[in-house]
Symmetry: C2
Subunit: 606 residues, 2 copies
Amino acid sequence: MFSYQPPLKDIRFVLSELLDASATLSQLPTYAEVDDELTMQVAEEAGRFASEVLFPLNAVGDREGCRYENGAVTTPPGFADAYRQFQEAGWPALACDPNYGGQGLPNTLNSVLYEMLSSCNHAWTMYPGLLHGAYACLHKHASEELKQRYLPRIVSGEWLATMCLTESQAGSDLGLLRTRAVPQDDGSVRITGSKIFISGGEQDITENIVHLVLARLPDAPAGSKGISLFLVPKYLPEGDGLGKRNAVACTGLEHKMGIHGSATSSLQFDEAVGWLVGEPNRGLAAMFVMMNAARLAVGIQGLGSAETAYQNSLAYAQERLQMRAAVRPAQRRGEPADPIVMHPAMQRLLMNQRAYVEGFRMLAYHSALALDMAEQHPDAQVRADMDAQLALLTPIIKSMMTDQGFYGSSQALQIYGGHGFITETGIEQYLRDSRIAMIYEGTNEIQAVDLLLRKILADSGQRLNQLLGQVEATAEQEGKGPMQGHAEGLATLAREIRDRVERIAAAAQANPELPHQVAPEMLRLVGHCVIAWFWLRAAAVARKNAFQDPIFYQAKQDTARYYYDFILPETTQQLQIVDNVLRSAAEGRPLPLLSDVMRQYAEPED
Amino acid sequence: MFSYQPPLKDIRFVLSELLDASATLSQLPTYAEVDDELTMQVAEEAGRFASEVLFPLNAVGDREGCRYENGAVTTPPGFADAYRQFQEAGWPALACDPNYGGQGLPNTLNSVLYEMLSSCNHAWTMYPGLLHGAYACLHKHASEELKQRYLPRIVSGEWLATMCLTESQAGSDLGLLRTRAVPQDDGSVRITGSKIFISGGEQDITENIVHLVLARLPDAPAGSKGISLFLVPKYLPEGDGLGKRNAVACTGLEHKMGIHGSATSSLQFDEAVGWLVGEPNRGLAAMFVMMNAARLAVGIQGLGSAETAYQNSLAYAQERLQMRAAVRPAQRRGEPADPIVMHPAMQRLLMNQRAYVEGFRMLAYHSALALDMAEQHPDAQVRADMDAQLALLTPIIKSMMTDQGFYGSSQALQIYGGHGFITETGIEQYLRDSRIAMIYEGTNEIQAVDLLLRKILADSGQRLNQLLGQVEATAEQEGKGPMQGHAEGLATLAREIRDRVERIAAAAQANPELPHQVAPEMLRLVGHCVIAWFWLRAAAVARKNAFQDPIFYQAKQDTARYYYDFILPETTQQLQIVDNVLRSAAEGRPLPLLSDVMRQYAEPED
């Protein structure tokens, strides 16, 4: 039976033992009340809601999907009711400003919540998934009037929100978008244009929807510097209630590989009433507040999928009896077959999943904590440092965690064998649902370019060196213990990364395409370095606390070793690819990619 | 628009220029008539059938699926008609013995046919996909009487065939199967039991179905040594027609992640009439004839999926305009955006796909040719050598090609961005359909164990060394040309593999689980070594023939370099993992996998 157990023990390990999150949080004035007890209480309640309310709706949502008729959308049975429970429990307000009705708890706890929601029901989680980003964006950029009118409804979850970015000709490249906004005398605008791929663009869950729409003002500059952000409600608020319906219509839903329960809508704006958020032509910057939060959230979706896939494949591997293990304990020698978890091939697939899931959980919560500090720390330098670190970690989180959501689900499916391919088993839905996360909120290819070009090379590696310095400090600290070999490996990796960044920066002068060619490798190199850093710290903590629970902490140390012995070697591959590209460039014969196809775009030869 | 162009130019390159297949085949007495013209004529006709008849049915089959009602199965609209055309054109008989109505053409041509069928419609191809294996199995093991009665109908494709192996408790481990066969006085048996996951177990395409069923005779030894193979027709033949319906009933169809058009049936045998094929209790050996053919065919399915995914993502990348390229030719500088194929991130995804697809095509056709030689060569030593090589190549083909069918489809989907996740685009079906091939006909994990334990370690590396010797000869031959660096890299890799095999064999004495732990790495090491061997040869041929078509042959040489620079580095990762495992074992502290979970199976401590 497919199921979900909230991984509270590991969450406690990460938050309390590894990161000492409560101590950090309670030093921030806003979160002075936060302690371990509160943290774990929230985690337990979130786990209960996710596993008891959302998980049972997951297969239903996949099977029934959303229905579209005459502009109206019906979400799968149970989705709206689950949302009502979510709202009544106050979850939307968790990490929001008390001035607008929020509970004023840290982002860190919101991350714990969203990991579990995503683990249980990716499609459902899409509906409230943009709430916090919309909240953050409006909180920072909207006028006080707009805030007063909309924020309390968003914070309470009474109204859901969308991000209306994509148009059919403008996906990764928002500079190409064509939706227009015409200012009116009353300070509002009229929005006209078509948007696609709008998650929750229409639904029957909340009575109103707040669309955040990118569009162009008249005479705006071409490209991404001419985009502004607008707030466009489905119904115009009137007094405390709703006034007339705005001119935004849902024209259809997409049929998708996965997340069938999420209403992926096409929207038509036809002189819809809206209001500018932030500065004219600075819409991308305003939206980026939302997008960065969304990228962390999407990474956490990947973690959530990977966790459920891992849990279930581990349980199945203990139930399913096939073949005799290579080494059999005496008491099993009469049995016709052993649980497949006894076969090293299955153990490898399981340990791979575990090492990534637990490694990513450390990274995710560390980053959420960094976000809390970046937002709330009294010391401006600390805020800036945390911002700088998040700038590096965000593309890694978005890309590597969503990759693992998908590949981890695929590894889990493999453990189920033929049964994994059957719908009713449950795992194949995770594979289909998780696939989208590698694409939306900036494809994983764009994340790699973002990391190497905009986050590393753009400041000559300063932010990166600061992070690597912390990694090296840990490596030195652990350099004499039982993890000595691994600590040395980590220090070497950090050095190799510094070296390649310098060489890539130098080579890019003559060959501007070169950094783009090796961006995927550099993302995984830095990502593995960071995860290896956490595993080294986790092993140290586990060693220290081993007496409390020898089995758990021994497994933690073994998983750290597994990560170093079986997963980190991927970095040798990436280093060699980077070196091959650098060598070819140095020899003056860079490899032309798709030479036959690219001829059509080449300069005509004279 | 999703589409398919038969890759005839590359097929000709591989068969005619790289492998000189006609020359090899025409030296075999059976295939004396085969020449390049005949070969390409067959390829062209196969490509026409696949692209014109099958490809248009692919999305329909996915959408409509198979329907089950009261024991009867309705396949998707058009499937039965397409099969009639397939049969009338004589395709089932292509590589069969003329004594039973076959056309007597080589397996090599059958592989070309099945690559294209799989490219166009994986689900449909499942129906005739087992014909050739069933033919080969019966041809080798059945009594002359059974052959006379059944083979002509199978060869002509009038009746389709199934492999009835899996039971709910017996998947990878057929030794656990429970279906019983009770001998009758007339020499027949009565079969009773339940089978699941039977592809084409029931359908409305052919009037009769020939089931090849694994079952146990009374008093058979336990486990896999007590399994016999039986032929069980859906209708009992009578004279030239059909007699009464046999007691085999379809009890349902599975709902699956993909290949919706393939009827994955549960079958109930209830004292069904059958006949023994081959020796009692030697059913697995007889079935293995079918299974080895099926594993090559499944590998080719992966190649077929990967080819279509590659073609379409390449076409889309040239159509879709997003962002400005890092380097822009003068004539594009006024354009708001460039085709995404100009972005290195997309080029990497495309070159990866291309290097694998073209590399695997060389491996697939080489192996099909080896199969023809193994079957038909007059010299027994050549036959034995070819058999030995196929024993090594089969698990590599099955595993690496099906991995790429799936991961390649995923890379292609990524190029489509959000549009790739939408059903009507077409690519997501390839991802879903191709996933099963990593599981059926022996999971890819089982292939790895098969290669390392049964094919390499079992004969102390003899077969492997013979293959590596050929690789090294090519490396030496190309060692002074422009591929010198790559030739040296290939020779080094071959040496490293020999060395690791020796060390694994030595370490396995004390630690029998060790080879199982590193089997996945060893499979990909040997696999990459073989593909790199082909790429070295392909580059040499392309260089020689460059004057004929400079663009095509330059691209071929570039792709060879891409393979060496960007893909082969994966082997450094695998070598390091193997080394880590060997080192831990040598230090007497092998890493326990899942130590916490495995405690329950450990010997009780005294």
